[in-house]
């Protein structure tokens, strides 16, 4: 297939390990140690992420807290990443790593779909992810729960930062994974219905939110069905709403300025006469 030869994005890095930034990082650390300054911590996603197979597809779930050290950086971040119409991936670990890794493999899948003119398979995404992560020997801190439906059925994979994978009927990752796994181990069964599966996923994420300090805020879910439909729900369960807390703060009424407080004395309207673009069209030579 001649289309493959020039397609360097599928084979995007030169062979061998690329530790280009390790030297730079070491230098930064040395400088920081001398000047007693505090290095900014990478934003991690703390996290509880889960995925499970049910009768007609897969359900993925994730919490929405992103932490930088002991501070919550983002109260409502998105941890369920789009890979393909029928494949989604939850990410735990360093937020930038999970975001960019899934984005990269998502675009590789799109190019492959154009080349092969057929829908992506979950095992393809898994292979691309694990090959990239192994190349970086665990320095890319991305722990992923990959789920989707393809022609061979519903699949859930767990992918670790060093590149090992596992194919399982249900799995959890992240700091809240034990809390979520305890819920799965007590209540998961074969061939659950969609509503039961979604309830179980929500319950397990809530266990992570309330029992793990690295996870919090609310729960997002994603249902991918064998019939090809997908449903991503941001904030499927939101047990920690911020609005009532904000409303409880007594602010001065001077801050609430209604419309029409400032009287309008006069109005003039001058349309701009500006040439935005100068376009000429020349026919191409055959």
């Amino acid at each position: 297939m001649s289309e493959f030869h020039g397609n360097s994005s599928l084979d995007e890095a030169p062979p061998g390990f690329s530790f280009d930034n390790c030297h730079r990082n070491a230098m930064i650390e040395q400088v920081a140690a001398k000047s007693n300054s505090v290095l900014p911590t990478a934003t991690k996603t703390g996290t509880t992420i889960v995925g499970m197979v049910y009768k007609d597809g897969v359900v993925l779930g994730a919490d929405t807290r992103a932490t930088g050290g002991t501070e919550v950086c983002d109260k409502n971040c998105e941890k369920i990443h789009y890979m393909a119409d029928n494949i989604y991936c939850c990410g735990a670990g360093t937020a930038a790593d999970t975001e960019k890794t899934t984005e990269m493999i998502s675009s590789q899948l799109e190019l492959l779909r154009m080349n092969t003119k057929s829908p992506s398979r979950v095992v393809t995404a898994c292979t691309l992810l694990k090959r990239m992560l192994f190349r970086y020997q665990g320095h890319i801190s991305a722990a992923l729960v990959l789920g989707g439906c393809d022609v061979s059925g519903p699949h859930v994979y767990q992918i670790y930062p060093h590149g090992s994978t596992g194919k399982l009927p249900y799995t959890t990752m992240g700091s809240g994974s034990l809390a979520a796994m305890s819920v799965f181990e007590t209540e998961w069964r074969d061939d659950m219905s969609e509503s039961e599966a979604v309830e179980l996923v929500k319950k397990s994420i809530l266990a992570g939110i309330f029992n793990d300090l690295g996870s919090g805020s609310s729960c997002d879910t994603c249902v991918i069905r064998m019939d090809g439909t997908t449903e991503v729900t941001r904030g499927a369960v939101a047990p920690n709403p911020v609005a009532p807390l904000r409303a409880a703060i007594n602010r001065s009424s001077k801050l609430n300025i209604g419309k029409g407080t400032t009287p309008v004395l006069s109005t003039t309207f001058t349309p701009a006469r500006v040439t935005l673009a100068d376009v000429t069209v020349t026919e191409m030579e055959q």
Partner: protein, 276 residues
């Protein structure tokens, strides 16, 4: 052993035993550095017990644990008793170094015996028995003191029983860890149990749980621990403290299920770890 060994034979046997013990004493870190003055301190636990769970229910307090003591990665003692009644009204459960747990229970039992022998009367009405809360406070002092000497008793201890408040008996459940942190709650768990069992216990707890419900809940949690904790066993013990006294069950096995169709023959037919 009543064999007729000569003195020299016994000495040789003993020294061989000591040499073999020294060579099999574990691995990476030196666990037996002798410091100045000939003293040594606990640096790491050797024979360990895993989680202990505790829950208050309608009639009192219930504790649960498995009966395993691990020697590193080896499941060495499969009939270790980690739930012990230290006096007629108090239960203590312990995870961590088993020898330190034996020391703690021996200490508490000595105290109970002394209380009994020096009581003003032979009858129980004069409150000479320490209630669970007193045992818990005493243990906090013991553990914190040892921590200050940088020589801890390497345990997480759960204390269950009743607390005498005026004329009433109120169920009591508390935890003391190896650095002397102590707290009481409706549900407690040590070790891996705090990650795997506590979410389930917190979700399912009600103040009016029946004994059967509480026991089923404990069994479910210990089953999850057996699935997911590498140092757990499916042979368990349950103990309860009620207003009538304290009772520790005999150990028994809990059943586990490994035959879910999705594990035996996964959907989608693709086997192995996925990808290549």
């Amino acid at each position: 052993m009543h064999t007729s060994l000569t003195a020299t034979a016994r000495l040789i046997l003993f020294s061989l035993y000591v040499i073999s013990m020294l060579s099999t004493t574990a691995t990476a870190e030196s666990s037996s550095i002798v410091e100045a003055g000939g003293t040594q301190r606990t640096r790491r636990p050797i024979v360990t017990g895993t989680s202990v769970l505790g829950i208050k229910y309608r009639d009192g307090v219930m504790l649960a644990s498995d009966t395993l003591c691990s020697y590193g990665t080896m499941a060495k003692y499969k009939d270790a008793r980690r739930l012990v009644p230290v006096n007629p009204v108090t239960l203590v459960g312990g995870g961590g170094e088993y020898s330190d747990f034996q020391e703690v229970t021996a200490l508490l039992k000595r105290n109970a015996l002394e209380d009994k022998c020096t009581a003003d009367s032979l009858y129980e009405e004069d409150n000479s028995v320490e209630c669970a809360k007193e045992v818990w406070n005493y243990l906090r002092a013991v553990m914190y003191n040892r921590r200050n000497k940088m020589n801890p008793l390497w345990n997480d201890l759960v204390v269950a029983g009743f607390h005498i408040e005026g004329a009433t008996k109120v169920p009591f459940l508390g935890l003391v860890d190896k650095i002397g942190t102590s707290y009481e709650d409706n549900v407690v768990a040590t070790g891996f149990g705090s990650y795997l069992a506590l979410p389930i216990l917190r979700e399912k707890w009600r103040p009016d749980l029946e004994e059967g419900e509480a026991r089923a809940l404990m069994e479910d949690c210990l089953r999850v621990l057996f699935y997911r904790d590498c140092r757990a066993l499916n042979r368990i013990q349950i103990a309860k403290a009620t207003s009538d006294g304290v009772l520790v069950s005999e150990p028994y096995e809990i059943d586990t299920s490994w035959d879910a169709a999705s594990f035996v023959s996964p959907k989608g037919g693709l086997e192995g770890d996925g990808g290549w």
